[in-house]
Symmetry: C2
Subunit: 108 residues, 2 copies
């Protein structure tokens, strides 16, 4: 099982519409990925290690998928539509990484 992380670096004054991201963008991407993506997660950055420091990332999402190949082939088909929607919620270029899920959830 793999995880595709999309991480939006914090930068002062940058724009990020968390409501649009949660209610419109992410459900649309999940619909386009179809069964290639088991589920996704979303988080909103609050602080860094110190409570008065900004977070490294203002938002992080992860798509949990069976395989990199499945994710990429679904993405290729719908990439243009997904990319075109990004300007609707942010002007930040995300950092993307693919990870192997080592522990999906320690209590299961």
């Amino acid at each position: 099982m793999i995880k595709v992380n999309v991480m939006y670096p914090y930068s002062e004054g940058a724009r990020f519409d968390h409501a649009y991201y949660r209610d419109r963008h992410m459900p649309m991407v999940k619909a386009r990925l179809g069964s290639a993506c088991a589920y996704y997660t979303i988080e909103k950055g609050l602080t860094g290690r110190a409570p008065d420091a900004p977070p490294a990332f203002v938002a992080i999402c992860a798509f949990v998928c069976e395989s990199v190949e499945g994710y990429q082939s679904a993405l290729q088909e719908h990439g243009a539509e997904i990319l075109a929607d990004i300007a609707n919620y942010t002007d930040i270029a995300p950092v993307i990484q693919i990870s192997e899920v080592v522990v999906e959830r320690s209590d299961r």
Copy 2:
């Protein structure tokens, strides 16, 4: 619900013992956090956006907790033991951030 992300930046030649992290360090930290942490997740970075690019982070873990206060008070009590164990698996200084969980898991 909040998530404490601990992210170890990739750097060439840096040391990270994924087996120790999964089998020893993370279960120990969870035991010390007790009920302040509901569960944790672990992932191992594979690649960046391009399949031949290194990942931004070689490992990412997250502690899912009821509150920042609960996490921090449990951490204060056991912080020295936890910090002392880090040298056993890595020489990388992690990036830490606290996030609000917006969508814990889209299929639930």
